[in-house]
Amino acid sequence: MSEDARRGLTVDPDAPTQYPELARLSQLVRWHIVNTVTQSKAGHIGGPMSMTDLLVALYFETLRIDPSNPHSPDRDRFVLSKGHSAIGLYSVLALRGYFPVEELATFDHGNSRLQGHPDMKLTPGVDVSTGSLGQGLSAGVGIALGAKKLGAGYRTWVMLGDGELQEGMIWEAFNSASRYRLNNLVAIVDLNGLQQFGWPAVATRDRFDRSDPWSHVDLHAILTGFGWNVLSVDGHDFGDILGAYEAAVENASTSDKPTVILARTTKGHGLSFTSGTYKWHNGVATPEQLEIARRELAIEETTL
């Protein structure tokens, strides 16, 4: 990483991190997200980038998976319920070895294994097809219930968007999971405080700022009330994230509650121009912006 490439990083690159490898992987993932979407001229940016650290930690530290055997019955399952963030998942899967990183370039092209939204019939490593928001947690409940019925030890992890929580079907699933005591189920909520359009901070004037979609409710109390084990973390702090993942796993042996991790994140995290704005929910970077991304993410010219 050249000195020059570091310039423009919003976070001090010399700040100590206990997880330099995960941090570097996240930078690569974020680069693939913005670069791939830009090359394919379609796709989402903000949501994939807010969940990047959560996914990197999950796929590189926590999930019991074998990329060379993506259908192993024992594998832990992952459901990207917020399926519009597919490119984030694909980037992680590629770096984890499910398919060649070069294949990312086919994203959103015709005849590709990498569809705009995850397709379990096409992409190695994708366990559940998603795209219509709100359905992934129910699928996760069924998968986890199946494990219980079979006496199988795999765990099921579901990534949800905070906008997505507005879908009623999610609440049907929250209810079922605690009823069936699915302590082998973990939901992660990517609380980036933004959705695609949402509510302006000042109702009568849209100044491109937005209110948090859940500012008027107490999600922690609600989910506790629904019988879940609720953890809150900084979704960009690997220590925090891994601590929560461990706690979720431990919870399974000490309680019969499912766990939900409320991960506070920033939409578009990791790039100065995409960070914290709903305007980059989706979008295509200009050549200049791509250059900024390259610098901010410390990407060598030779990386794709």
Partner: protein
């Protein structure tokens, strides 16, 4: 004469004894759909989800990933409407072996009225790729179709009536996917029906016989995929084809037959009978069948009227509120 719901419930109890992959996912209606028989026999393979039809579908999908092959149990109308998006994405698009049982289909659902009367299920499910859409007529075929669907390795929708109809198929009948069945052969008028209504149409043909109109009766248990030569053979020689269904005249059996025949040269003309693109109401079965033209007597009468003046009944406006 056994009610379709009892046949479905009893057959699943039978199948459940030998096939441990069969589970039922219920939406708080097991004592209506008769999934409660299965629940009593195999409590471990009965999943109560409560009143949450979308969630039912998601959970059923999830169970298929663990090797289970679920049947859904609730009123069909809520599956084909309330849960349509999950059925589309998690069942049809993934080709998961979830069996969607459309219980209490059509008009006859114990006086619940139009919110519960599914008169569009065939149109909706037929338009969905990857879906097998079946509508058995009597107790013999309901059992057969339940068995067939239980071992089928993909999404299936089965239209089920609540109550019983007169048996029209032989005791040793075997269901064959895609094949239509000629219940009464001969004649230049072909009455084509599906589901429980086929039995009432069979009776209508008996009534017509008495007044000297001989009609053949063709039953279409497979709305999709239809084996076209089987239908073409069955209507061969007919000068007029009349579809009769306990369903809207738009997009269901009438749609299927119209699309299929219109595609061919020198096809017989098709008239469609059924719900006239309007919602129905609460009422006892006999009242509803009579009022909406589906009782044997009324079918016979409507067929006769049509034959007397086909042009008069041909629609000028398709869709009620122009």
């Amino acid at each position: 004469m056994r009610a379709q719901r009892d046949v479905w419930g009893d057959t699943l109890v039978e199948i459940g004894a030998v096939d441990p992959s069969i589970v039922i996912v219920d939406g708080d209606l097991a004592n209506s759909t008769k999934a409660d028989k299965f629940a009593a026999a195999y409590p471990d393979r009965f999943v109560e989800v409560g009143i949450a039809e979308q969630n039912m579908v998601g959970i059923a999908f999830g169970l298929t990933t663990a090797g289970f092959r679920p049947w859904l149990s609730t009123f069909g109308v809520f599956l084909t409407h309330r849960a349509l998006d999950p059925i589309r994405m998690l069942v049809s698009q993934t080709q998961a072996p979830v069996r969607v049982a459309g219980a209490y289909s059509g008009l006859l659902n114990g006086s619940s009225g139009k919110t519960h009367q599914d008169i569009e299920d065939l149109a909706i499910m037929r338009a969905m790729p990857n879906m097998t859409v079946l509508a058995p007529v009597d107790e013999i075929e309901t059992a057969e179709v339940t068995r067939w669907a239980s071992q089928h390795d993909g999404p299936v929708y089965v239209r089920l009536a609540r109550d019983a109809v007169r048996q029209v198929l032989p005791d040793d009948y075997t269901f064959k996917l895609g094949e239509v069945i000629t219940l009464r052969p001969g004649g230049v008028i072909a009455l084509v029906s599906t589901g429980a209504q086929s039995s009432r149409v069979y009776e209508a043909a008996e009534i017509l016989d008495e007044i000297g109109i001989h009609a053949r009766v063709i039953h279409v248990p497979t709305i999709k995929p239809l084996h076209v030569p089987s239908l073409m053979e069955a209507v061969d020689g007919a000068r007029i084809v009349i579809t009769v269904e306990e369903h809207s005249i738009i997009g269901g059996l009438g749609g299927l037959v119209s699309e299929t025949l219109a595609e061919r040269f020198h096809s017989p003309r098709v008239a469609r009978m059924g719900l006239q693109d309007a919602w129905s109401e609460s009422g006892p079965n006999d009242f509803l069948l009579d009022k909406y033209g589906l009782s044997p007597k009324r079918v016979a009468q409507l067929v006769r009227e049509y034959l007397n003046a086909p042009e008069a009944t041909t629609r000028q406006i398709v869709g009620g509120n122009a």
